[in-house]
């Protein structure tokens, strides 16, 4: 099963993913005490790709990637994140 991780080269530490994950009470996104007190994702708690609720609110392109492939998940690729307002709800 693929997992999600933070790419610190692009993450701005805005913590939108942290807020979105906490609102769902998943708490997979956390601030790691070591080594640099940065946002990380706990693969044991993260439900990706079943849950992609953080992806549509991340404003930093490339900051979340699929760990196994390095593929960027921001902005959310339509084949991974299917929830879009485009062409729906009319």
């Amino acid at each position: 099963m693929p997992t999600l991780k933070i790419d610190h080269e692009f993450c701005t530490e805005c913590r939108m993913c942290y807020v979105a994950c906490r609102e769902l009470n998943l708490n997979a996104v956390y601030v790691a005490a070591e080594p640099l007190h940065r946002i990380e994702i706990d693969p044991a708690r993260c439900l990706f790709p079943g849950c992609t609720a953080c992806l549509p609110y991340c404003p930093a392109p490339g900051s979340m990637v699929e760990a196994e492939t390095g593929r960027s998940m921001v902005p959310p690729p339509p084949d991974v994140h299917r929830w879009s307002l485009k062409g729906r709800m009319r």
Binding site: T12, V19, A60, S84, L85
Partner: protein, 238 residues
């Protein structure tokens, strides 16, 4: 529709979270109100730059002074404080993350004003930021919302300002995208580079809060009324 706006919609606006209770409302206000406003802003900025103004020193100086007027330290603190104080102590448990987002934004906005100073000093128009304290052009801006009069309204609904985050911050991001493409000046680029990421982040705060929290007629009306008020400026009615 301008390609910059089309790309912005596809990449950043339309994606939503599964089951987001406010998403349907966000889609409606986006289609009915925000897109026409954003399109007008994009087209007017493109027209301004296509006329050659972006290459002129007057344009760059005015851009930096207007930016400073909108994001100066005093203005930023007052405006963000008003947003923070729109949440009563009793409501804090519910909106604790909203407060965190807004508290963080104080620094972003104060930093943006320094970037405008960098442009003004780098071009040789000022020697020190303190010179701007007595410059009317650096302390007055006509925007009637967000960094204007509405900063005084601490009593409005805690979520109402998402109209401003969602519409105004997107407009700032789109405008900067156009500068990126059409203005070659390195100092103008410096002025906007980190702003670009942060305006998108502030937009995301509005998008997230509307999607997640604006799920009732009360909260949706608060946002929509504020959006109407914001849009009056862009429609030339204020």
């Amino acid at each position: 529709m301008h390609p910059i706006l089309e790309e912005f919609l596809d990449l950043w606006v339309w994606p939503t979270a599964p089951g987001a209770g406010g998403a349907k409302f966000r889609r409606r206000i986006t289609e009915e109100k925000c897109i026409p406003g954003w399109e007008g802003l994009v087209q007017s900025t493109v027209r301004e730059l296509e006329s050659g103004q972006g290459a002129g020193e007057d344009w760059k100086r005015r851009l930096a002074l207007e930016g400073y007027a909108a994001e100066g330290v005093q203005f930023s603190i007052k405006q963000m404080s008003a947003q923070l104080m729109s949440i009563n102590l009793n409501d804090q448990p519910r909106w604790i993350d909203v407060q965190r987002m807004r508290a963080r934004q104080v620094w972003d906005e104060c930093k943006h004003s320094k970037l405008h100073v960098d442009s003004l000093s780098g071009h040789g128009w000022i020697k020190d930021e303190r010179e701007l304290m007595n410059d009317v052009d650096a302390n007055f801006q006509p925007l009637s919302a967000y960094f204007g009069q509405s900063m005084m309204f601490t009593h409005i609904h805690p979520l109402a300002r998402n109209a401003q985050h969602y519409f105004i911050e997107a407009g700032a991001y789109l405008t900067i995208c156009i500068y990126d493409q059409m203005v070659g000046d390195l100092l103008v680029r410096h002025q906007h580079l980190s702003q670009k990421a942060e305006e998108l982040m502030h937009f995301m705060e509005g998008k997230y809060q509307i999607d997640t929290y604006c799920t009732t007629p009360e909260t949706q009306n608060a946002v929509e009324e504020t959006l109407e008020w914001v849009l009056r400026f862009f429609q030339g009615k204020v």
